[in-house]
């Protein structure tokens, strides 16, 4: 991050920086936060992931898209330490993270969410949030027995949690059990909880899956707000239309490999992408665009189909 005292406009900065990046798979970025090399993961004889080179630009929203079974979530699991690669190496902020345990990956500033929301159902919303915080001395068993040791930090954490809950419009659910929230609210809670540790990079696995259309717009707004605050966002999605609205850069995967990269407008026109989506699954519905503001429906399914 720059040391300038004035706030940086990360949105236009990302657009400016990515403007001249080559539109080829594995393109080199001006300021990559995450760099992965020859990452593979085999399940039996099948290569679920086979990524030769990938760079993710700092302070930008990068979307990782691809048809079902393209290996997006598997790649996510590998990078965040939830799965072990068959081979490969990657660095996050210059430090190697290959083979590092998931908890340590999270502590190094890369926090993820899950495709199937993992709200902790039998805990209240505020307890969920507090759990996301770092540097709480009371999480040590012996310190836990002496409340004065951890109560000051607990108050800080609670204030931070309430601020985030207010931002995500969950403050009135503060003392409800997380299990009583709707699916979309749980997605919001999971995202808010991930932000408690103030991560430098947040990895969202299908943030829109199962979210009702009314909440979609506000979720998109939250993701953009994260980037505008200087957090790097990498998210998995297979609804291409949603991707176009918010991402600065799009990486397309198919059958485990990266087949295309580029800004959202141009990548959709890439023959390799059309092939990946429409060639194999030409009858697949790529998502409903009509509920989102912005341009009218489906340039892909309509005009671009061969």
């Amino acid at each position: 991050m720059s040391a300038e005292p004035t706030p940086i406009d990360f949105r236009s900065a990302a657009a400016r920086d990515l403007q001249f990046v080559e539109r080829t798979p594995g393109a080199v970025k001006p300021d990559p936060i995450l760099v992965a090399d020859s990452v593979t993961r085999h399940f039996g004889g099948i290569a679920a992931v086979d990524v030769a080179h990938l760079e993710v630009q700092r302070n930008a929203i990068t979307a990782l898209i691809g048809p079902n079974g393209a290996g997006k979530t598997t790649l996510f699991n590998l990078i965040t330490g939830f799965d072990r690669p068959s081979s490969g190496r990657w660095t996050f902020e210059g430090r190697s993270l290959a083979g590092v345990a998931a908890a340590r990956v999270a502590r190094s500033g890369m926090v993820r969410t899950f495709q199937l929301t993992k709200a902790l159902n039998r805990m209240t919303v505020i307890e969920n949030m507090r759990l996301g915080a770092t540097r709480q001395p009371g999480e040590n068993m012996f310190a836990a027995l002496v409340p004065p040791l951890w109560q000051p930090r607990e108050r800080e954490i609670t204030a931070q949690a309430e601020e985030l809950l207010a931002r995500f419009k969950l403050l009135d659910k503060r003392d409800d059990f997380a299990g009583s929230l709707s699916g979309g609210q749980r997605k919001l809670l999971e995202m808010a909880r991930a932000l408690m540790s103030k991560p430098t990079m947040i990895m969202l696995d299908e943030p829109m899956a199962g979210v009702n259309p009314a909440l979609t717009q506000s979720l998109l707004g939250h993701i953009q707000a994260l980037r505008d605050d200087g957090t790097t966002v990498l998210f998995v999605e297979h609804d291409m239309h949603m991707v176009r609205h918010i991402s600065d850069w799009v990486v397309v995967m198919a059958e485990g490999a990266i087949v295309a990269e580029g800004p959202p407008d141009s990548v959709m026109k890439d023959p390799a992408v059309i092939d990946a989506y429409l060639g194999a699954h030409h009858d697949t519905d790529l998502g409903d665009d009509s509920l989102l503001e912005d341009e009218p429906t489906a340039s892909i399914t309509g005009k671009d189909a061969p």
Binding site: T80, F82, A101, A102, A103, R104, A106, R107, V111, R112, T113, F114, K118, A119, L120, N121, R122, M123, E127, R130, L131, G132, T134, Q136, G138, E139, N140, M141, A143, A144, L145, P147, W150, E154, F177, G179, S180, E190, R193, A194, M196, S197
Partner: protein, 328 residues
């Protein structure tokens, strides 16, 4: 029917050292299951190890605090040995491993190869390890009668073990009360709900599960010491049924609560005593023999507990709301 005698029996059972020992064992299991979601099916193994550790060390001439430390160390080591290979796996594996490990402890304890140390299947006589504990008692030798209860001050099934046993139960409850409200307890509850989510928030799940297993196991070992104080160390009386009684007590009182295990133990043993006393008095010998009453008592307790788990699954003290949420 002599109701005074029956009620005296029931009241006596409520305060018995055995009830305290089971309450304590359930407090330990509550840390495993109620807080962390670990399915420890071998709590009796921890108790037996605690009993052996204490008794063998005392017989070898160790002072009482040394013997207690031996019991604690043995159970902590046992927890580490169990946890290292299994805590990385899914929950049910721990259940299988712990039930097997508890059986291994019992079978090794009763094997003739160790007769000199453990007394094999006949166990260790109470007199051989009770003296250090009894010598600590501030009471004069003799028998005290309070109300309908008359026990020896210091020997075996005494007022002294009642006092110490229940004091330890209270301390353990205070301990759990502090932990359950702390950030440490919060991490454990998170692990109970979804350990992947907790891992994604940067917590070392394995270390927390290990701490929980060791802590609950150590409390179990102390419960084992309290349990054998009024009797003998008898490996076969501390087998699988004991584990299941501890589980029943925990679920009856309410998992993840502070006083649930204590209330569960009191209700369980008092209820059993009530059923057996009523049957002994009220049903003629020609209909059911006294041996059958013993068995039938367990049957009735079993049925009652089934009904309780079906109609009040959160236990007596559990939070209905916390349990009612449909967890997918």
């Amino acid at each position: 029917m002599d109701w005074t005698r029956i009620l005296t029996n029931v009241l006596g059972e409520m305060l018995a050292p055995t009830t305290a020992a089971y309450a304590l064992a359930a407090v330990g299991l509550n840390i495993h299951f109620g807080l962390t979601g670990l399915l420890n099916m071998g709590q009796a193994g921890f108790m037996l190890l605690g009993a052996y550790g204490f008794a063998i060390a005392t017989i070898a001439g160790w002072p009482i605090w040394g013997a207690v430390l031996v019991a604690i160390a043995a159970s902590a080591l046992f927890a580490l040995l169990l946890g290292i290979p299994t805590l990385k796996l899914r929950g049910d594996y721990l259940a299988i491993v712990t039930i097997a490990a508890a059986e291994i402890v019992r079978l090794i304890g009763r094997s003739t190869a160790l007769t000199s140390l453990t007394g094999a299947s006949s166990g260790l006589r109470g007199d051989s390890y009770k003296t250090t504990f009894q010598n600590l008692s501030p009471f004069p030798t003799g028998t005290t009668t309070i109300g309908p209860f008359s026990y020896s001050n210091n020997f075996s099934n005494s007022w002294w073990i009642r006092l110490v046993g229940w004091a330890i139960v209270l301390i353990a409850c205070l301990f759990v009360y502090l932990l359950i409200r702390s950030p440490w307890g919060r991490v454990l509850k998170g692990i109970r709900e979804d350990e992947e989510a907790v891992r994604s928030l940067g917590k070392n799940v394995f270390a927390y599960k290990m701490q929980s297993l060791v802590l609950g196991g150590v409390i179990g070992a102390v419960a084992g010491i309290v349990y054998v104080m009024p009797r003998a160390v008898q490996p076969d009386s501390m087998g699988r049924p004991m584990t299941f009684f501890v589980w029943t007590i925990l679920l009856l009182g309410g998992a993840a609560t502070v006083f649930g295990p204590v209330l569960g133990s009191i209700v369980f043993w008092a209820g059993l005593m009530l059923i057996k006393s009523v049957m002994r008095d009220g049903v003629s010998d020609s209909f059911i023999s006294s041996g059958q009453i013993e068995q039938l008592g367990w049957v009735i307790v079993g049925v009652t507990l089934m009904l309780l788990v079906i109609f009040r699954p959160q236990g007596v003290l559990g939070d209905k709301k916390e349990l009612a949420i449909n967890v997918r």
